[in-house]
């Protein structure tokens, strides 16, 4: 072999060596365990459950069941309407805090390096965070439903219920992507404050706290550019309180937003990589 050939074959070897050969069963086990422990970790984190789970539920009980239970909004009873909006609010919080806060802390305080020094498949770490966000999103929406059905007289066909739950759970994806991007560009101490700084104004402007039609005109125009607005409109459309905009547009905006956030997260990932490898 000529030196070039030897060089080539080493290059090919190092390329093919980039993955560890594992059986599909073993790989699945790793992904499952990673997700399971990520879920348990957050579930036991009072900081996480207290803010992420209790706020949307508390708001729903107060504004949807105690105060305005007999009222209607856009032809839909308030307890039903608010499942869609506080559901969106809950999904967004669970996803942002679940991904960004954990990632920023793991990156900043050395834990991610310990994991990277191990043979963990790198992707498993991120997938675990996204799956955990989706599970918490489902829990929040189911809690709102249960309260609505038992205390607010909410009734809807099973198919509609399934569609609403499915839409909101899938809605965890864009915000998990946003969380990954934030997690790469914030530090362990600044992450929670940064998340709140984005999460709370975005929720307000998207009509998740004050129903959309009561918002000032300028805010309503801003809302059109905000991902939570589009997710909440998809959810409201299912319970018959949408603004008759195109669902396809809502999905497209959310998909584009997800891609942009993943792109930003990728830049952060590579920047970290270069910092380590540079």
């Amino acid at each position: 072999m000529s030196p070039e050939e030897i060089h080539m074959s080493t290059a090919i070897m190092s390329l093919t060596n980039q993955r560890i050969e594992r059986s599909p069963g073993h790989t699945a086990t790793i992904y499952l365990k990673e997700a399971r422990y990520e879920f348990l970790k957050n579930l036991r984190l009072r900081m996480y459950t207290a803010s992420v789970l209790s706020f949307p539920i508390m708001f729903y009980v107060l504004f949807g069941l105690v105060l305005n239970a007999k009222e209607s909004l856009a032809g839909t009873r308030v307890p039903t309407y608010l499942i869609a909006t506080y559901g969106t609010f809950g999904v967004m919080g669970a996803s942002l805090f679940g991904t960004a806060a954990g990632l920023a802390s793991d990156r900043g305080l050395g834990w991610l390096q310990v994991k990277r020094a191990s043979p963990m498949p790198p992707f498993a770490y991120f997938v675990a965070k996204v799956i955990t966000s989706m599970i918490f999103s489902t829990i929040i929406v189911l809690a709102l439903f249960t309260l609505g059905i038992v205390l607010g007289g909410v009734r809807m066909p099973v198919a509609e219920f399934a569609k609403l739950l499915g839409t909101l759970t899938v809605g965890a994806l864009p915000f998990s992507a946003m969380g990954l991007a934030l997690g790469y560009f914030t530090g362990p101490n600044s992450a929670p404050a940064t998340i709140n700084l984005i999460y709370l104004p975005m929720s307000f402007c998207s009509g998740l706290w004050v129903p959309f039609m009561f918002l000032p005109k300028i805010v309503r125009q801003i809302a059109l550019a905000l991902p939570p607005y589009h997710l909440s409109q998809l959810a409201l459309g299912i319970v018959g309180a949408g603004r008759n905009e195109s669902n396809a547009t809502h999905w497209e905006v959310l998909a584009a937003f997800t891609m942009i956030c993943l792109g930003v997260a990728r830049i952060g990932f590579q920047r970290d990589q270069e910092k380590m490898y540079g």
Partner: protein, 317 residues
Amino acid sequence: MIATLEQPRRTAMVSPQHVVASLEGVNKNYGDVRALRGVDFAVRAGEVVALLGPNGAGKTTAVKLLLGLLQPTAGKARVFGGDPTNPENRMLTGAMLQVGRVPETLRVREHIDLFSSYYENPMPLAEVLAAAGLEKLTDRKFGDLSGGQRQRVLFALAICGNPDLLFLDEPTVGLDVEARRTLWDEIRRMVDRGKTVLLTTHYLQEADALADRVAVINQGEIIAQGTPAEIKAKTAGKRIRCITSLSLDFVRQIPGVTGVKEDREAIEIHGVEAEPIVRELLARDARLAGLEVTSAGLEEAFLALTQDNGQNGNQFN
């Protein structure tokens, strides 16, 4: 002057065993900071090697290069003959790094279960728990553990995959004497099972207790290598204290002097042998007073080795 040892008799110590991890002419810069300078260093199969040096000497950088978490600015890091970033190598290595925060709400057993799952042939949980002395803490959450217990969990994560090569970065930092000795016993048990170990430490005593071979590193350079006995023989000199009008610079250039520092009204001199130095001092300064000669302790010997030619004086303790 800095003591430079001849190459240790490695071949006699560990017969023709092969190198499993090495740094070859490695430089590593962080911006303008030169963390490692021309480091040549090898770990052979079955050996326990200690990288000994003060904080900021470049020990952690060396370990991270060998773990593929950093890339050298120049030179080559190799593990099992290949690139340390090769994921296959990670199956054969375990690492204990210094971590700011470990997920605190997971239990000891859960942390080990997850890390074990990454490996092809992990050790059984009971064995890991026994080897790391965690049997009674299995169901404890990480956040409820003491400093020593936390170090033992990190140690357990390093060994749970049953790796051939272990990297332990300051495994006993911040531990009290008892916890340190417990962890030493655990490391020795791993060595008895035939593991190769590279550990970093800033305690000569720790290197002495565990290592077959010690490499002393300071300011990014390896300044001495040898068996713990060789390092001690080379460094365990005498400490001379006296009140003199001689300048520090003058004393420093007396043959055999390895370090000089001011100590209140007196000066403290470290040297290989006391007699020639004392003879010279007395010859040069007839009014010299308060002369004391003592044997340097291990830590002082190490200090003499790593002192930057006396220029920075006594900068670490």
